[in-house]
Symmetry: C2
Subunit: 192 residues, 2 copies
DNA sequence: ACATCTCGTTCACTAAAGTTAAGAAAGACG
DNA sequence: CGTCTTTCTTAACTTTAGTGAACGAGATGT
């Protein structure tokens, strides 16, 4: 697990052995069972999550319906907006597979960053990269139909379609579960 | 103009007079005429933009149709994804009002940041904040209908509806211009 | 002043998504 | 093993968005 993390970090900065052991000594890894709710609406938190294995999702409850808006799988990081804005969370975060997560909190990050300014650089690079990715995803979403979005997902994250329940996928695609079923039937029809 | 910029920066870090004059000496301000294309599809650039006055938009050309995905107005910053990924741009950036922009390039930023590490911190805070904002916008988009998105925009950025052409607004809302017209008529009907 | 072009709106029609309801299939649990 | 629940699918119907075409208003250019 440590190696997975260090391989990831090495894409941005290089670490000395001393820095590596400083990270290990923080004891950040957590095993989390499927179904665990990591963050609830209205709750305040300083925690960020990095998925080493498994999958977590973010969802809102609107009119007592769950609306899933994002999935985070292996080597993906989530810092909930409420951590940045220091306000109560607008959404839930839950674990949809047995997972191994790295859980860090912003106070601790600030401390580490002041000791190792390198980390600030890495955080900056990471969030710039994530912002660019998020914008492109958003743009693709805006400029395509539900059917195109599904086909696009099939290309880019085929694993998600296997490991995630359909009704969660549906709201991730911005549609109703029934529409997703129909849309998939339509696609199969076209192929034949 | 300098004051607008320094007020903005002061939300993140505090600057000494020396640092301020270092920034001014970089001579970053540009007056840009309405209609100017700042970035074209396929082009490589290292430029980021900060809008002091006016409005710029990003758009794709898909099937020879313009698809507008974002607007940036006063005190908003745009670093195109292609600057981060160092690849040719996937979209166009154009100026839709006579504007005053701050144009910086990533080489210069790197130089300034190494001289004043404070700036790295600010960039990090800024991109974390923007990422959080982008995620929330995306989530709202996913979880609402075109009509709700329009009403939402009316609440949050009423100025945009005034200053931006309808057909650009339409694709910003992820729909066709005709649908936006119809949708607006529908809303007016409901009110009466 | 005239022709041209762009933009916004409207209309009729088609296609797709929302909604409500019902039933089948798969899982969870005692 | 059967029961209960959740998940997925299908269907009928309603609502809304996409599409193609047409029109008028306003801007642009010569």
């Amino acid at each position: 697990m440590n190696n997975l993390l260090f391989d990831f970090i090495s894409k941005y900065i290089s670490l000395t052995e001393e820095e590596k052991s400083a990270i290990i000594s923080l004891d950040l890894f957590r095993s989390v069972k499927k179904g665990t709710i990591l963050l609830e609406e209205g709750q305040r938190t300083k925690n960020s999550y990095f998925v080493l294995k498994g999958c977590i999702r973010t969802y809102y409850v609107i009119d007592s319906e769950e609306k899933t808006t994002a999935f985070y799988t292996e080597m993906e990081a989530l810092t909930p907006p409420c951590v940045v804005s220091k306000t109560p969370s607008e959404y839930y975060v839950s674990c949809i597979e047995d997972s191994i997560l790295l859980v860090s909190n912003s106070d601790m990050e600030a401390e580490v960053n002041s000791k190792f300014p390198k980390f600030d650089i890495m955080c900056r690079m990471l969030s710039e990269e994530l912002l660019a990715k998020e914008r492109i995803d958003f743009d693709e979403f805006k400029t395509s139909s539900p059917e195109q979005r599904y086909l696009n997902l099939l290309q880019k994250r085929p694993d998600l379609i296997q490991r995630v329940p359909q009704h969660q996928l549906a709201s991730y695609l911005g549609i109703q579960p029934q529409s997703l079923s129909r849309l998939r039937a339509r696609i199969l029809e076209k192929k034949s």
